[in-house]
């Protein structure tokens, strides 16, 4: 067997060196590829099995039963290569995702299909289905009936449905994709280039953002990824750039402000004279138009430097931010329909013709539009580079290219990657190596990851089990470790939310901090333990698994045996002696405990309803994040059947292996060791 493996390995060495050489003809010899093809874990004192467990802990959402052996069979390096290629077939995943119809739609289709309540009402009113003037007076039932049939007739669906599918698919992909690293990188980059469902205007663009902008570029070149995000409707709306325009004829300009003051004065005069006729209305309209006129918005320009590329200490000034904002004026969205000025754009294109517009510097690529008429044509200086007057879209391209290849960017991005995969405070020596690769290889993310995993720092004792799982990682790693089937992913999303990670709803453009201290606090820790107990006792609807099947259908003879076996199954290659030692006295004799506690249980159970939260309450603990919309989604979307109440007698009757096993499993999932990866 060993010899066999070695042969495979030698073959792999040959193949991979050939492929690397052919892929990078003329690459210097000292590159990482030729230096070290075997990951340096032996030097760190790890066995191959331990190394595999570490590798799976970092580059998957958690090992599935038997996965360590599978990786050993292929070889660690080859397995990693396959993960970088991210082209393993995913048939069962695709089957699981098939019912999610929103996932195959493009931005325009989604934009015109999934509408929130207000948008639907607006459209229904426009078509005269709901009377314009007495909307509030119609009976709720009647209006609902009208709206429902209106939606059906037009194929409209509630926006909440879109959100549900988005959240669900993330959970399903993370749990079941064979290209685990691709999912992790997608999540990493999404979080790096965060957009959020808390911003209404960007909600409907988020699914395509993840699918078309992030995932395909997640293991590609950083510069491509950066540019793709810059042009995406999700980012353009989330950080306001779509409405940032040159500000010469705006209330912000001196002339504009003066004009507005004059209008106000006229309005006031007419008002004092009691004249509210045509002239008054005309002035009121002019004022309104002025208020809606737009100008420069610095939001995206700041964050692209601070958060996406250079880092806050990357060496830029407030003047750089303002000038970068000017460079990016006119980068906007091609209208998705006739709303929000869409008609104007459509008419303009019809009148002038796309070809003519192109000659003038107008750019239309898919959902992206560069509106040259909104672009600031003055000279700007950003980071010492001059953008001469009268430029167009190429200015933004130049800026983005400059930022993508900046030394500060290499360092900032690599530090973040190392924090994701190695430790919260990664060693500077490692970050430097990665940043060097980033600079040498044109921001090639695969190459940067290879440098990382080939560095001794990745395998060092300081890195092992050093990362604390985020709530999402904890949840998915549990699903994977138990080989669980998830029929209602949103149930898990509720728990993930409760543990402190409301996926897709992080409001700030920083994304979730990737730091144990952020995730671990008293409240969230108790919820992690409660999650373990709820899941293992099958109180999370739509999540099913078979504990005895995990152990080849052997039922452990005692609680102690269960503890030992399931610790090993759920946390392979970990030293669990201390965990077992601590728990044995407690669980050794559950039946005796039952008797001892019978009286106590009775008195306590009368208190139970008051102190324990019902499952429905759990569903709604988003109450603290006052997003009513999401709550409505939850309420609407889950006709959950109530989990049965366990009565004491039932429990005692079941007090055999099943209860014991699930209790042990719950404690393992909630244990400190299982929080680490």
């Amino acid at each position: 067997m060993k010899r066999h493996l070695q042969t495979i390995f030698v073959l792999f060495l040959l193949i991979s060196s050939v492929s690397i050489l052919s892929a990078f003809s003329g690459v210097e010899k000292s590159g990482i590829e030729s230096k070290s093809l075997k990951f340096p874990y032996k030097q760190a004192g790890l066995t191959e099995r331990q190394a595999t467990a570490h590798l799976l802990g970092r580059f998957t959402y958690g090992a599935t039963p038997g996965e360590i052996d599978e990786v050993l069979k292929i070889g660690l390096e080859k397995w990693f290569d396959k993960q970088l290629e991210a082209n393993s077939p995913n048939d069962s995943l695709n089957t699981a995702l098939a019912p999610y119809e929103a996932l195959t739609k493009d931005n325009k289709e989604i934009f015109n299909t999934y509408l929130d309540g207000g948008q639907i009402r607006k459209r229904a009113m426009k078509e005269g289905l709901i009377p314009q003037d007495s909307t509030g007076r119609i009976e709720y039932k009647e209006r609902k009936g009208l709206v429902d049939s209106f939606m059906k007739a037009n194929g409209y669906k509630p926006e909440g449905e879109l959100i549900r599918q988005l959240v669900n698919q993330k959970i399903v992909r993370a749990a079941y994709s064979n290209n685990q690293l691709q999912e992790i990188m997608t999540s990493f980059w999404f979080n790096h280039f965060n957009v959020s469902l808390t911003k209404n205007e960007c909600i409907r663009f988020v699914p395509c953002y993840e699918r078309d902008v992030i995932r395909p570029n997640s293991l590609g070149k950083f510069g491509d990824l950066l540019l793709a995000t810059a042009k995406s409707p999700a980012m353009l709306t989330y950080l306001d750039n779509f409405r940032s325009v040159a500000s010469d004829n705006n209330v912000n300009s001196e002339a504009g402000a003066k004009r507005l003051r004059e209008l106000y004065a006229q309005q006031l005069r007419l008002n004092q004279n009691g004249d509210t006729g045509m002239q008054y209305k005309d002035i009121a309209n002019k004022i309104k138009g002025f208020k809606n006129s737009q100008g420069l918005n610095e939001n995206y320009a700041r964050e692209i430097m601070e958060l996406h590329t250079l880092g806050v200490d990357g060496g830029y000034t407030q003047a750089d931010v303002t000038n970068a904002a000017k460079v990016l004026t006119g980068w906007t969205i091609f209208p998705m329909n006739d709303e929000y000025g869409g008609t104007q754009v459509r008419k303009m294109i019809e009148k002038v013709g796309e070809e003519k517009l192109k000659e003038q510097g107008f750019v239309h690529e898919g959902d992206f539009m560069f509106a040259v008429n909104k672009h600031d044509k003055t000279e700007k200086v950003v980071l010492g580079n001059t953008f001469s007057a009268k430029g167009g879209m190429e200015e933004g391209l130049k800026l983005i290219d400059m930022l993508a290849h900046h030394k500060s960017t290499a360092h900032f991005i690599c530090k973040k990657l190392a924090a994701r995969f190695v430790s919260d405070n990664p060693p500077a020596s490692l970050v430097d190596k990665m940043a060097q690769t980033f600079m040498d290889k044109d921001g090639d993310i695969k190459k940067v990851l290879l440098t990382m995993v080939n560095a001794p720092e990745f395998w060092s004792k300081q890195a092992l089990r050093e990362k604390i799982k985020s709530p999402f990682e904890l949840t998915i790693s549990t699903v994977r470790a138990l080989n669980a089937k998830v029929a209602q992913p949103y149930q898990l999303a509720n728990w993930i939310n409760k543990m402190g990670e409301r996926i897709y709803y992080y409001q700030a453009p920083t994304g979730f901090p990737d730091r144990a201290q952020y995730w671990i606090n008293s409240g969230s820790l108790l919820n992690r333990m409660n999650f373990g107990l709820a899941l293992s006792s099958k109180r999370i609807p739509g999540v099913t698994f078979d504990l005895t099947a995990l152990n080849n259908n052997h039922e452990p003879e005692s609680a102690e045996a269960a503890l030992r076996v399931y610790c090993k199954l759920l946390m392979p290659e970990r030293n669990v002696d201390e965990t077992v030692k601590r728990l044995i006295p407690l669980i050794n004799d559950p039946l005796i405990h039952n008797k001892i506690d019978a009286a106590a249980t009775k008195t306590e159970s009368t208190l139970a309803p008051a102190t324990m939260m019902s499952e429905d309450n759990m569903m709604m603990t988003t109450s603290n994040t006052d997003n009513k919309k999401a709550n409505e989604v939850l309420r609407e979307k889950f006709n959950r059947k109530k989990a049965p109440d366990y009565t004491i007698t039932q429990l005692q009757a079941n007090a055999g292996t099943n209860t014991m096993l699930s209790q042990v499993t719950g404690i393992i999932i909630g244990s400190p060791e299982f929080q680490r990866r």
Partner: protein
């Protein structure tokens, strides 16, 4: 530290496992239960801090409405205090500053001189990054990124008495804020009702699981998990005795049903439960108004209404405890004097904050707000920071919590005060 743990082990622990689970002999448990323990912390003062994340536009919350430069810089955002210009003009506080009309519930508190305002306050570090500025304000060291403790955690360490309660410092947030990072124990609780090991319909199993978890977290080599585990279980035991679900605010106080309302309600609950709370923290978001900020109505107006209504309800609810409580708001920076091109405001510098309490020098707008002509502005665009946030924070903490070591609370700072607190 050991004293504190010792107390917990001899009270809370027994209360939880009084039924005999976990090997505590029943007679000890009964003895502990029969001994009613009088909490020693009833008279301690409480400081409540609210972080307004996203940078509140101080110029719209408390407008220097006589400033012609501001009026010119904000053609559509400027609001007037003159009656008749709008259905809801600014509330004229002193002839120069006007309170946003949606904060009308603050007016009586201001007139009673319990509510003080500090304007043009902020950080001496001129970063306009939300995230850096928030970190600096929470660490209390605006020029040192490496600080790994928060000023409120240091304040807890300076209270001058050993705490006997895990609830000494509580943040009603889903994660622990940086202001609470540090050596002293601090809890983050999103929802008091969640704060227990729960197994539906099976408290026996829940108790056993709780004991198991407690043992496991006690032995783990991860110091973060170990410390947090200890703090959690200490707190769970104390909370177990309280009815957290059926809370009725006193005095007819009605909290708005939103994040800040619920958070302040829970802080009021903890104060009334006498569990030893001394420093509380919570936060609210939505202040980053780059677009369509609104005036009498709209985004900003809703935010300040939520905040002020929640604080007013909190104050009403705590009418019997008002002498013990001081509340202070903070935000990482202000917003540009000029409105931007999208009817909003971009990142600026100075903003304002509110301090509420019976020992506050209230009814005044403190600080130094210059005329907002271009040459007076910081970098030609922003309200200059004329009051260092540390001078307010330290004065409030010193006066209310009787802390007298500002060198530890705010290292590298000269300790200038502005008189926002009385006496």
């Amino acid at each position: 530290m050991s004293t504190r743990r010792g107390f917990i082990k001899s009270t809370g622990a027994l209360a939880l496992f009084a039924a005999g689970i976990g090997g505590v002999p029943g007679f000890i448990a009964r003895a502990a239960n029969s001994n009613k323990i009088i909490p020693p912390y009833k008279k301690n003062k409480k400081l409540v801090c609210i972080f307004q994340r996203g940078a509140m536009d101080g110029l719209m919350a408390v407008t220097p409405f006589t400033d012609e430069f501001l009026k010119a810089a904000r053609p559509t955002l400027f609001m007037s205090a003159a009656k008749g210009t709008s259905n809801t003009p600014l509330i004229d506080l002193d002839g120069r500053f006007g309170l946003h009309p949606s904060m009308k519930s603050f007016e009586p508190l201001f007139r009673e001189k319990r509510l003080g305002i500090v304007h043009a306050v902020g950080s001496p570090n001129n970063t306009r990054s939300h995230f850096d500025a928030q970190d600096y304000m929470e660490s209390g060291t605006p020029f040192n990124k490496g600080t790994n403790t928060g000023w409120l955690n240091r304040a807890v360490g300076l209270l001058g008495h050993e705490s006997s309660s895990p609830f000494q410092a509580v943040s009603i947030t889903s994660s622990l804020p940086k202001a609470f990072y540090g050596d002293n124990a601090a809890l983050a609780i999103n929802n008091l009702q969640d704060f227990a090991i729960q197994m539906r319909g099976n408290p026996m199993a829940a108790n056993m699981a709780a004991k198991s978890f407690e043992d496991l977290y006690d032995q783990t080599s991860s110091s973060l998990l170990n410390k947090t585990g200890k703090e959690s279980f200490d707190a769970v035991k104390m909370l177990k005795k309280a009815d957290t679900k059926n809370y009725k605010p006193a005095n007819g106080a009605v909290y708005p049903d939103n994040q800040i309302g619920n958070s302040l309600k829970q802080i009021a609950q903890l104060i009334k439960m006498d569990v030893g709370l001394e420093v509380a923290f919570t936060e609210c978001g939505g202040w980053d108004t780059h677009y369509n900020q609104g005036t009498e109505t709209g985004q900003f107006s809703r935010n300040v209404a939520d905040l002020s209504n929640a604080i007013s309800a909190f104050w009403k609810d705590l009418s019997a405890y008002q002498d013990e409580v001081t509340l202070m708001t903070m935000t990482e920076f202000g917003r540009t004097v000029k409105q931007n091109g999208t009817a909003g405001t971009d990142h600026g510098r100075g903003s304002c904050l509110f301090v509420l309490g019976n020992d506050v020098n209230g009814g005044k707008v403190h600080g130094n707000m210059p005329i907002l002509s271009k040459e007076n502005l910081e970098d030609g665009r922003d309200v200059p920071v004329t009051t260092d946030f540390r001078s307010v924070f330290s004065e409030v903490a010193d006066a209310h919590l009787k802390i007298n070591d500002d060198k530890v609370l705010f290292p590298e700072w000269d300790g200038k005060k502005i008189g926002v607190m009385r006496g």
